[in-house]
């Protein structure tokens, strides 16, 4: 009987190794294909790396990371990175990397904040009941989304350096901030003795506010008595540092830019390259964030709002407890993805010479040293780490926001 069944299934009865069996055996095939791919990929890598070493040797290019210790020997457009690292042309190539990294991160940081604000504003305006406002927001999205980001960066950069006045005729805002062709001049804060105490009190305030909030939430859970906590939060987070600041006799001075003979002196100069880059990136990324926020708000069913009203929640409570948690669940993941895109797009600063990672390190150092493999690997590694960090953040947010089944 068993033999009959096996024969009807087309399987041969004997168990020994049979080539025909092997050929039609799924596991054997899978194994075979994987081995072939493995050998091909590794072979490709092996040949490529072999050729690489051969070619590098033939051309007399150095290998290894010793170039990082060598003198850089070029000037970098003075911006935040330079101030932090205290960069001079005598500094090493590694400090160029460091300067570039800091400049990339500051663009990403400012860009993320600005684009979120613009995106939030446009996304809400897009859903406004006001016809004109909604249409204008729509026009904004359609306009800036469909222009390549590099074109926008170059456009704004050109506009800034051509339209802004000569330093002698700077736009002045209350004689504190100045705007001209060479960028924006902000007051430079100079912390004096005791300022660290103010910073410390801010941290203490934030921690205290957290515990106050936790305490009243517990009270609400236990007794049902709701206490509004925002006065405590404002008092602790803002009031405490301000009090300490005043008590210590204002330990912070500002160095305000002064108009010299040809140029403004002092202050903190925000170069036009940074302004153009951040502005273009924020305006461009904001269109995507606005769309994400709009789809998030639209994704919440109308019934949710009605149900919240029916169980007696106030409009604020309904927004805070019912609408926003659901809207944000849809809106936040694409928004975080856009943050990553913004960070990656900041590398386009190469085109206008803002000294971020790909421009200062991947551009100038690469041209001087010629060790493309090492330099590009380092730059790519930075972007890989940033993107890894953002995807960890994304996973965390997704987990936190997932609908909790019971």
């Amino acid at each position: 009987m068993k033999k009959l069944i096996l024969e009807s299934l087309g399987k041969s009865q004997h168990r020994g190794l049979n080539f025909r069996d092997m050929l039609y055996n799924n596991e054997a095939r899978a194994f075979f294909f994987q081995v072939v791919t493995f050998v091909l990929v590794i072979g490709l890598f092996y040949t490529a790396i072999g050729n690489l070493f051969h070619n590098i040797e033939e051309r007399g290019i150095n290998t290894g990371f010793t170039f990082l210790k060598n003198r850089a020997g070029f000037d970098i457009l003075p911006f935040l990175g330079n101030y932090v690292v205290d960069y001079t042309p005598e500094s090493s190539n590694f400090s160029v990397f460091y300067v570039g990294l800091i400049n990339t991160l500051i663009v990403a940081f400012v860009g993320i904040i600005l684009s979120t604000l613009i995106g939030l504003f446009i996304g809400i305006a897009r859903l406004s009941s006001n016809y004109l406002v909604a249409k204008l927001a729509g026009a904004y999205i359609e306009l800036f989304r469909n222009i390549p980001i590099l074109l926008q960066i170059l456009f704004w950069y050109n506009l800034f350096i051509n339209l802004f006045p000569h330093p002698k005729q700077s736009f002045a805002f209350f004689d504190i901030m100045f705007l001209n062709q060479r960028g924006l001049y902000l007051p430079r804060p100079i912390p004096e003795e005791g300022f660290s105490v103010v910073a410390l009190s801010l941290i203490v305030g934030i921690i205290a506010a957290y515990f106050v909030k936790k305490h009243f939430k517990k009270k609400h859970d236990l007794t049902g008595v709701y206490t509004s906590t925002w006065p405590f939060s404002v008092g602790l987070i803002l009031g405490l540092p301000v009090l300490v600041f005043l008590a210590l006799g204002s330990p912070l001075q500002f160095d305000i830019a002064v108009l010299g003979k040809f140029n403004l002196r002092g202050g903190m100069n925000v170069v036009p390259e940074f302004l153009a880059l951040t502005f273009a990136l924020s305006v461009y990324t904001a269109t995507y964030i606005a769309e994400a926020i709009r789809s998030g708000i639209e994704a919440v069913d109308k019934g949710q709002k009605e149900a919240a009203a029916a169980i007696g929640l106030t409009p604020t409570q309904s927004l805070k407890l019912v609408i926003l948690p659901q809207a944000l669940r849809v809106a936040i993941p694409p928004t975080i993805n856009q943050y990553l895109n913004l960070t990656k797009n900041s590398s386009l600063a190469t085109a206008i010479g803002y000294p971020e990672l790909m421009s200062a390190f991947g551009g100038t150092v690469l041209n001087q040293v010629g060790q493309a493999v090492e330099i590009l690997a380092m730059a790519m590694l930075v972007y890989l780490v940033i993107s890894l960090f953002i995807s960890i953040l994304l996973n965390y947010v997704n987990k936190k926001m997932a609908i909790q089944g019971r």
């Binding site: 009941s129 989304r145 170059l154 590009l376 972007y383 890989l384």
Partner: protein, 382 residues
């Protein structure tokens, strides 16, 4: 017996229709809305009139005599020069003079008919494909078009065959180059992307690992690093170690980059196919190849068409990046032409012109993608 006269249909009440009511409900429904309306109007007032003045009313249109498909159109006695063009408004004669550069780059002026033929062929392609939709041999026609269209285009543009004089790639430029990079990027990267997507969804561990690594690595780094890699490092990986054609290097970089993005789009489509389809294909004894080509991919690709178009739009936007590695696409032409000593200080015109062209192309593509999305969205809407 009472007789009822048929009365005329009454007009809707004045308080519910008409422009005034529309204004009231849409623009002035509350005082906040009124403030917003006036703020928006003010915004438009400070932006639109200066822009129109610059672009049209104060601008110079002294093109001289223009030959438009054999018709002589006379705009002015002679073409404006940089000095008499004015600085208040835009100087469009500058764009007119540089139009060739923006369109073809340094392509030899005597050979313009070749790229033009390709442009016409491309236009024809968009006419032919919908026409043969119901034709018996539409698959064969489409397949032969897919094979022959790039071939003919390449032969025409690159030349080097028979009477066609060869035109080296460093003379290609402008919009022509932008379109070449975008279309080659899409055509080459798509099959690679599909293979990578299948690899990532495969049960074979090693193939899955390699595909995932490749996709995630490429998607984590900016395109510039890939272009630099392709430009500086790729030649060193090859046995000869010679720096081969710059355009080809850029194309390899862009195709690999785009393949990773297409792979993710197609994977989304693959994941949306119900398990039953895979099981049914297995049950009737199809091989892996048959299963994917006949059952899974046709369905998966169809639902990912809107995202494929969306990804292609991104690629089109990204083609501008090639200017950083020294190719002269349309955007690079703005910088290049503004260095002309006879036309100094005309960058704004160049930027505005390129912006308008790029925007028009991208906006059309995004509208098309939206239309596709609506057509393929068979989900019930409530």
């Amino acid at each position: 017996m009472p007789v009822f006269d048929q009365q005329e249909t009454r007009k809707p009440p004045v308080s519910q229709i008409g422009a005034v009511v529309w204004l009231k409900t849409n623009l002035f429904s509350s005082w906040i809305n009124s403030i917003l309306t006036f703020a928006s109007l003010y915004l438009l007032y400070i932006m639109i009139p200066p822009l129109l003045n610059w672009m049209i009313f104060d601008a110079s249109f002294s093109f001289g005599t223009v030959n438009f498909f054999g018709f002589e159109i006379k705009f002015s006695e002679e073409m404006a020069t940089n000095d008499n063009c004015g600085r208040v408004g835009a100087c469009w004669p500058y764009i007119y003079e540089k139009l060739y550069m923006y369109t073809y780059g340094f392509y030899p002026r005597t050979e313009t008919w070749r790229p033009n033929t390709v442009f016409v062929l491309t236009g024809l392609l968009f006419v032919i494909i919908p026409l043969v939709k119901n034709y018996k041999y539409k698959n064969r026609v489409t397949l032969s078009l897919i094979i022959f269209y790039p071939l003919i285009s390449y032969v025409l543009i690159a030349g080097g065959f028979g009477i066609l004089a060869p035109v080296p790639t460093d003379q290609w430029g402008g919009l022509l180059l932008t379109l070449i990079i975008a279309s080659v990027g899409i055509i080459v990267s798509f099959p690679i992307g599909v293979l990578l997507a299948l690899g990532r969804q495969s049960n074979l561990r090693i193939i899955k690992l390699f595909s995932t690594l490749f996709i995630e690595f490429i998607r984590a780094v900016p395109l510039i690093t890939i272009l630099f890699m392709a430009s500086f490092v790729l030649p060193l990986f090859l046995e000869s170690g010679n720096y081969f054609d710059k355009l080809l290097r850029a194309l390899i970089g862009i195709a690999l980059f785009q393949a990773a993005y297409f792979a993710e789009v197609v994977r989304g489509g693959l994941q949306a196919i119900p398990r039953g389809q895979y099981e049914a294909a297995d049950a009737i004894g199809l091989s892996y190849f048959q299963k994917n080509v006949l059952i899974i991919l046709p369905q998966a690709l169809k639902i990912s068409i809107p995202n494929i178009v969306g990804s292609s739009i991104s690629l089109f936007k990204d083609t501008t990046l090639v200017l950083i590695i020294g190719l002269f696409d349309m955007l690079a032409m703005v910088n290049l032409t503004s260095n002309d000593p006879y036309w100094l200080g005309r960058e704004p015109e160049g930027f505005v012109f390129v912006t308008m062209v790029m925007w028009a192309i991208l906006y059309t593509m995004s509208r098309y993608s939206r239309k596709l999305e609506l057509r393929f969205n068979t989900e019930n809407k409530n």
